[in-house]
């Protein structure tokens, strides 16, 4: 089928004067010229060998835009036959009773789609008997697919069972020779031991790994503090777009035009493939069970595709099961409504909603929002719509799952919580709601007024949700932000309002596993000013009040900053507040929320002692990433944002810079995440108690390592110097020999022996170089008038 289409195109191209004018040659025979390019990929590069070459072809065809020709000449054969199905297994009846049978059959056929008597063709043979099969045309291909799915294998009566196939499938597989007549048992691959997927956790020094993507090479390294990182693997062309770790660090995902590949184990061998053509975005589920992939281009399923089926045709999003490597379900993406065009401006582009599918903490549910209308919750692992219907929520703008399974006070049954908000519609107020899943019950709502925008921020344990409400005044001229904090675990989910901030909050972040947060506010921009307005950084902590956290109070505000990014240590306590993606300032402030020293007066009753540990700079910084143990922070400047001084710097949690690594065409630095600790709470406490003992040990080890490194450096220098001196001695000897052989004087190369040497004149005396130095003796200033 597709071969025929291609031939049509090829002949069409020959007639088209527009294409003949092109300077670059056009290759009509598809196989020969593309193959070399395929083989140019270096050996170490990942090959997508299970995929057909067709995927590559499609990419090539992209370069020549003949969509106009395609539209004109393409024979839409598939489309025409897509609505046909073939039903086999029907009773053989005489011609007279054919009508009756068709009518009987139609009842079944119409249960899955719509067709009519005219659209059922039941052939009759020479003996005036039906053949036991019929052709049926449905109105749409979807109905035909549904018929195949739902009617195949359905008994018609006691003796007859329907066998329903698509006409296209019969064409494809039913032809003679297409399927081998004889059954051949598939050969079983011998069992091969797989690499341990968590081998990196067994490092003797508990070092962390990181992935580095620069130029077209991706490498994985061990972090060696100040010493050069130790390379694990380094491969050219390992990915096409970007790399990404799975949330627990088990897999490294690479993204190619042919799909996504997962790598893991000690040697980073190929683990899984997800052939989503032209995938652009990917997302892992929190427990690494599933993967969501998205491409702006609807999938075109072609013949010979081993994994994708017609189910996926025309879809943008696929939810995959990582273990089996099979798609669970696919979807067409919903775009988010474009932000309202400011008068005169060109309407902004529609935004992709990403992550399109949001996962509940335990991966049992995944939900997607159709903006303004509904939220659809799917159950895993079968991906069926929960309760078979989407949850209608008029005007819904956004939603977030709780990042952890929360147990609310007085609630016994299992539940997952999600938060959503709806804007003001007509005279109805804006609303923030909290829903319990699977009951779909709304357990808490709060009405809000004069709302411009809302952002939902869950604390990592799901203990709080901070609803950041941007409010406008009646005249819509000035903006202010309220923080409405839901205390999820407390009875009745009380809401506390923090309205001490007078400006709009541009960034907000909870302390991981803690109850403190940082907010950055933006002052009013001066009219017509070229510089961005200054920002202020505010630190909040709860009041000390027994076991439970008290009211949230402002600890301190640092103003006249340019900061826009908040990066908490994954272990809490330390936070980096930085200015990223800026062209003028690049500062990073390292803060400690539990400084072990004197408290500032007036902050005594707060569960925090704020201290600025260090401020450092990294020119052009675009990203900041903590390692998962909270020991190191890496700031990086990626070529994806700008091309000035790309590279990455490593700092300790307290802001001491350990190393600077300017790297050409640097793209990504990603710490490998770690899975949750296996130690119990008591064991962790024990470790913390004996920290001094441990640190002594580690200091010893570090010192030893430094000593060894220093000795090594000195040794190399010594060796290098003696090698050099030996070389010099040998060369000088050779030169002396040569001079002797050739009869040159000892100082043959010196100017004294040169041809333009002047006769030696005695007593010329030293030459005098005259220098005139001007000195300002006096300077007076007279004011006239």
């Amino acid at each position: 089928m597709s071969v025929r289409t291609k031939n049509c195109l090829a002949s069409a191209i020959c007639f088209c004067p527009k294409i003949q004018q092109r300077t670059t040659p056009i290759y009509l025979c598809s196989g020969t010229y593309r193959r070399p390019r395929y083989s140019q990929i270096p050996i170490m590069a990942p090959s997508f060998d299970t995929l057909s070459e067709q995927d590559l072809h499609e990419e090539e065809e992209e370069e020549i835009d003949f969509s106009d020709l395609k539209a004109e000449y393409e024979v839409q054969m598939e489309e025409g036959l897509d609505t046909f199905i073939v039903i086999d297994g029907l009773p053989v009846v005489p011609e007279d009773s054919r009508q009756k049978l068709v009518k009987f059959l139609l009842r079944k056929l119409n249960s899955v789609g719509s067709t009519s008597e005219d659209a059922v063709f039941m052939p009759v043979n020479d003996k005036k008997m039906t053949e036991g099969f019929a052709f049926v045309e449905y109105e749409t291909p979807e109905q035909a697919v549904a018929a195949v799915k739902q009617l195949h294998g359905v008994p018609l009566d006691k003796k007859h069972t329907l066998a329903v196939n698509k006409l296209m499938d019969i064409e494809r597989y039913g032809r003679e020779g297409r399927v081998d007549e004889e059954y051949k048992a598939p050969t079983l691959e011998p069992f091969k031991e797989k690499e341990h997927l968590r081998s990196w956790m067994g490092d003797a020094n508990a070092r962390d790994q990181f992935a580095l993507y620069r130029n077209d090479k991706v490498g994985v390294f061990w972090n060696n503090k100040t010493n050069t990182p130790e390379n694990v693997v380094d491969r050219a062309h390992w990915t096409q777009l970007f790399v990404q770790w799975s949330p627990k660090g088990t897999f490294l995902a690479s993204v190619h035009p042919q799909g996504v590949q997962l790598w893991g184990g000690e040697s980073f061998s190929k683990q899984k493939q997800f052939p989503h053509p032209f995938v652009q975005l990917i997302e892992f589920s929190p427990l690494e069970g599933y993967l969501t992939t998205w491409s702006a281009r609807p999938i075109q399923v072609e013949e010979g595709q081993p994994v994708l089926t017609y189910e996926e045709d025309g879809k943008n999003i696929i939810v995959w099961d990582i273990e089996t490597g099979k798609p669970l379900r696919s979807f067409v993406s919903h775009d988010l409504a474009a932000p309202v065009a400011i008068d005169g401006d060109v309407a902004p582009k529609k935004k992709v909603q990403w992550p399109a599918f949001k996962w509940s903490a335990d991966e049992k549910y995944v939900a997607r929002m159709l903006q303004g209308q509904s939220i659809s919750v799917y159950e895993l692992p079968n991906m069926n719509l929960l309760g078979r219907t989407s949850i209608k929520i008029d005007g819904v703008m956004d939603f977030e799952w709780s990042p952890a399974t929360v147990i609310r006070e007085g609630v016994k049954q299992y539940e997952q919580l999600l938060c959503f908000w709806t804007p003001e519609i007509g005279s109805n107020p804006a609303r923030v709601g909290m829903m319990s899943v699977p009951t779909k019950e709304i357990v808490r709502t709060r009405n809000l007024f004069n709302v411009s925008d809302v952002k939902l921020h869950w604390q990592s344990q799901g203990a709080y949700v901070c609803v950041k409400v941007d409010r406008h005044s009646k005249s819509k001229k000035s903006m202010a932000t309220n923080l409405e904090i839901f205390r999820v675990r407390e009875k009745g989910v009380p809401v506390e309002v923090v309205d001490s901030l007078k400006d709009t909050v541009i960034n907000f972040a909870w302390e991981p596993n803690g109850s403190r947060f940082v907010a950055i506010t933006n002052g009013e921009a001066a009219q017509g000013a070229a510089v961005a307005p200054k920002t202020a950084v505010s630190f909040f902590a709860p009041e000390k009040k027994g076991h439970q956290a008290g009211n949230f109070k402002l600890v301190r505000t640092v103003d006249k900053k340019n900061s826009n990014g908040i990066y908490w240590s994954p272990k809490g306590r330390f936070v980096v507040v930085a200015t990223v993606h800026s062209q003028t300032s690049f500062d990073m402030d390292f803060w400690d929320m539990d400084f072990e020293g004197e408290k500032v007066d007036g902050e005594n009753n707060l569960a925090a002692n704020l201290q600025l540990m260090k401020t450092s700079e990294h020119y052009g910084v675009t990203d900041i990433d903590w390692d998962s143990t909270g020991r190191y922070v890496v700031s990086s400047a990626s070529v994806w944002t700008h091309s000035m001084e790309n590279g990455w710097n490593m700092h300790t949690f307290s802001g001491t810079t350990l190393s600077e690594n300017p790297t050409e065409k640097f793209k990504q630095f990603l710490w490998r995440p770690r899975p949750a600790t296996l130690l119990s709470k008591e064991e962790q406490k024990q470790v913390r108690k004996n920290l001094r003992e441990y640190s002594k040990e580690f200091d010893e080890e570090d010192k030893y390592a430094v000593d060894i490194a220093n000795t090594a450096v000195v040794e190399t220098r010594k060796r290098v110097l003696s090698e050099w001196l030996a070389w010099l001695r040998r060369e000088k000897e050779l030169l002396a020999e040569e001079k002797e052989v050739l009869g040159f004087a000892e100082d043959a190369d010196s100017p004294k022996a040169a041809l333009d040497a002047r006769p030696v004149v005695e007593d010329q005396g030293d030459s005098v170089v005259e220098e005139i130095v001007e000195e300002i003796i006096e300077e007076t200033e007279e004011v006239i008038g």
């Binding site: 041809l755 333009d756 040497a757």
Partner: protein, 340 residues
């Protein structure tokens, strides 16, 4: 280390050169003028004018009698340093990019550009230091044609045994100056990153090359073996070996046409000091606000000068700390020597 700023040129510098005594400094620039300066105080001694195009290169005869310059006006000119007269003009079919006197001053090599159907060549001119300096040979005594990749820079080895040339494709060649035959050609730098400078060590046993591939290499003049590699983060235009101390000075910077795409904050327009043996960077000298095009070191090793795309020459006389700097291993070596 306070630099002396020589601001006599109106366009970017192309080459600077100390004479063998180190009291004079000669500079050439795209503004067609050749200048002579007192290196001690930066006072201008005079100019040599006559070239009709950008002057690319300059060299001084061993005893500061004659000055040779090569220019984009397709000539090599020979000047009487004392009087400033032009004593001889040789015409070539293309621009002259590099001139160099042999160690005894008896010969001068000139590297000519590949252009308009002419291949790049290295021409050797015999120099006469008789009573009348204008009596010079009319034609080159030898012309080496670079068939493969044109030569960009060239120098004489010890005893003028070889002519060493750096090529546009990043390779280095050894030629026999008697026959003009190529002895050896080795791909030293990354392929197709031009060699921008080639300077000899004081004993002429080794030389340093600078290249657009951001590295400089110390190479044996005898067999073209790479002795050391100095890798930096910017394309290099020039490299020089310091006498007295074991350093090399590298200069470069983002090419002028790319400067707008890099941050002005750090254009990397610094002279970089590397320890030539240990192979580590030991210091940088800032000052220029354009790429460094040329560096030369005082023959006594007491000063160095750099010429930049910004049109300035900066002469730096080294401080005490420069001479005091030694690696511990060097100190140890010296102590051992003293004991013997």
């Amino acid at each position: 280390m306070r630099p002396i700023l020589l601001s006599g040129h109106e366009r970017s510098l192309t080459q600077i050169k100390f004479n063998s005594d180190g009291d004079l400094l000669f500079s050439t620039s795209k503004d067609k003028i050749v200048c002579a300066w007192w290196s001690a105080n930066g006072e201008r001694l005079g100019t040599y004018s006559g070239h009709q195009g950008a002057v690319w290169t300059v060299d001084v005869s061993p005893n500061t009698t004659l000055l040779a310059t090569g220019s984009a006006d397709n000539t090599v000119r020979l000047w009487n340093i004392k009087t400033g007269e032009c004593v001889k003009v040789w015409d070539f079919p293309t621009a002259v990019k590099r001139v160099a006197f042999s160690p005894d001053g008896g010969r001068l090599l000139a590297v000519t550009e590949k252009r308009m159907g002419f291949l790049g060549t290295i021409a050797v001119l015999d120099i006469n230091y008789g009573e009348n300096l204008t009596e010079q040979a009319a034609e080159p005594s030898l012309v080496i044609t670079c068939e493969d990749s044109k030569a960009t820079v060239a120098q004489w080895s010890f005893l003028a045994k070889y002519i060493l040339a750096g090529h546009e494709d990043g390779s280095v060649s050894q030629y026999d100056p008697k026959t003009g035959d190529i002895v050896e050609n080795i791909q030293i730098h990354e392929f197709d990153s031009a060699i921008t400078d080639l300077q000899m060590s004081p004993d002429r046993l080794s030389f340093i090359t600078a290249s657009k591939d951001k590295s400089a290499k110390l190479i044996s003049a005898r067999n073209l073996a790479i002795l050391k590699t100095y890798t930096t983060d910017t394309p290099l235009n020039t490299a020089s070996i310091t006498p007295k101390k074991s350093f090399v000075i590298l200069g470069g910077g983002q090419a002028a046409m790319d400067v707008t795409t890099t941050s002005a904050r750090q254009g990397k327009f610094e002279a970089r000091f590397w320890h030539s043996v240990v192979g580590e960077e030991v210091g940088r000298v800032k000052g220029h606000f354009g790429p460094l095009n040329t560096i030369d070191v005082h023959p006594a090793g007491t000063a160095y000068a750099s010429g930049g795309e910004d049109g300035y020459v900066r002469v730096h006389h080294f401080d005490k700390s420069y001479f005091d700097f030694l690696y511990e291993v060097e100190r140890e070596h010296l102590r051992e020597q003293a004991r013997k």
